[in-house]
């Protein structure tokens, strides 16, 4: 246990995490520091392209093994099942309406790609190898949770509003297209392709991630500041307990599939993280009655900072302790 806490404390002092803390503190202190919207968008495009490409190149270098399909299937199942766990926990801890609880639950089944990127950066920094195809697992885990959330609402008597257009928007949202597309480019071009652009996508990666997380800290801090009074103690407790429960379920799933220590840590991170890009957009279309302040504040203001500062180091340490990696 002491080892786990030591590792967590060491990771907390990385430039990536401290950049996030700087953004969070600046926003909470009402500084006028801001990252222009277009710059933040460009940083996120860079990060998604780089992480997808590197994942694809890793698959090309190491070859595919039998665990790929099993891990993809497990990711799908996790994303579909986690909202039900979250929904039950919300009913125990909070007094949210069924629609609000279902919308929040959907966010916790889906994933935060930024948390995933930060986790891969921590693993790389500590030279812990992981399966390159975990990027594809992340993409698979984006959408099933949305269907589970809508099903939770429909069982409560309200009609679900999932149309073909919404399904297309979810499956072809920019993040998924870029992530999966760059993954395939990396897989097709392999080590040679990676070498030809590594000075662009490998060397500057951590620095760009620092700037992006500075912006994420600002966004999370602003959200927290403007949302005082929206979340009660039970909801905040959910935002911290649910990622830990999710990570434990992810740990079990990863052990069943037989992933490497790095892969175990990443599946734990994916199971622990909550969406704040794809799912909020889908919920605004499909469940407009649900209060966006509740799910955005929980996901972005509570769970994201928790995962980034305490969660990731904890999940990495636990995965190493369990797998002996």
């Amino acid at each position: 246990m002491t080892d786990i806490l030591d590792l967590a404390a060491t990771n907390l002092l990385s430039p990536v995490i401290l950049s996030f803390v700087l953004g969070l503190a600046a926003a909470l202190g009402r500084s006028d520091l801001s990252v222009p919207e277009a710059a933040a968008k460009a940083l996120s495009i860079y990060l998604l392209f780089a992480i997808g490409f590197k994942g694809g190149a890793a698959v090309a270098a190491n070859g595919l093994d039998g665990t790929l399909i099993a891990t993809l299937a497990m990711g799908f199942v996790l994303s579909a099942v986690l909202p039900f766990v979250a929904f039950v926990l919300l009913q125990i801890l909070t007094n949210l309406s069924r629609i609000d609880a279902a919308a929040v639950a959907g966010h916790y089944g889906s994933i935060s790609i930024v948390t995933f990127v930060a986790a891969t950066s921590v693993l790389e920094g500590r030279a812990i190898p992981s399966e390159g195809y975990m990027v594809a697992v992340a993409a698979v885990m984006e959408a099933p949770a949305i269907l589970s959330a809508l099903w939770l609402v429909s069982t409560g008597g309200s009609g679900r509003r999932m149309d073909g257009e919404l399904m297309r928007e979810i499956l072809l949202n920019g993040s998924i297209v870029l992530l999966v597309g760059s993954f395939f480019i990396g897989a097709i071009t392999g080590a040679e392709g990676l070498a030809s652009i590594s000075s662009f996508i490998v060397a500057p990666f951590t620095g760009v991630l620092c700037l992006f997380l500075l912006d994420m800290g600002l966004v999370a801090g602003r959200g927290l500041r403007e949302s005082r009074g929206i979340l009660n103690m039970g909801a905040v407790a959910f935002g911290i307990i649910m990622p830990v429960i999710g990570s434990m379920i992810g740990l079990g799933a990863a052990m069943v599939v037989g992933l490497s220590p790095g892969g175990v840590a990443l599946l734990m991170v994916l199971s622990a993280s909550a969406s704040y890009i794809a799912v909020p957009a889908a919920m605004r279309v499909a469940l407009p009655e649900a209060n966006p302040s509740v799910y955005l504040t929980l996901s972005l203001g509570v769970t994201f900072p928790f995962n980034l500062t305490i969660g990731i180091p904890l999940y990495v340490a636990v995965s190493q302790a369990v797998t002996g990696g």
Partner: protein, 103 residues
């Protein structure tokens, strides 16, 4: 200079609903409109801002249409179909335009 009476309809709506709204408007024969970004604001669902927005989920846009008065009801019925359950504001004001044939 001679001016002509018209109606200016401003629909402030979530960015994620923009295409659904404009598709519906076009389906109702309203093919002329402008879309403006909204920098930020505060309402029943709390405060929000465009700056630093990482998701289109909580951003807003304004769809502005200027039409002849007799077409107003058709536009409003089409718009209501989309905005009924969503965050947003619909306002209608009297305006005057120079070239009536354009509306």
């Amino acid at each position: 200079m001679k001016t002509h009476k018209a109606k200016r309809v401003v629909i402030t709506i979530e960015a994620i609903m923009q295409k659904r709204l404009t598709d519906t408007l076009e389906g109702a024969g309203v093919t002329g409109y402008s879309i403006l970004p909204v920098l930020g604001g505060s309402g029943r669902s709390g405060a929000w801002s465009r700056e630093g927005q990482i998701s289109r989920a909580s951003g807003m846009v304004q769809v502005v249409c200027i039409i002849r008065e007799e077409r107003l009801d058709g536009l409003l019925e089409a718009a209501f179909e989309v905005v009924e359950k969503h965050i947003g504001v619909v306002t209608i004001t009297d305006v005057e335009v120079l070239r009536a044939e354009r509306f």
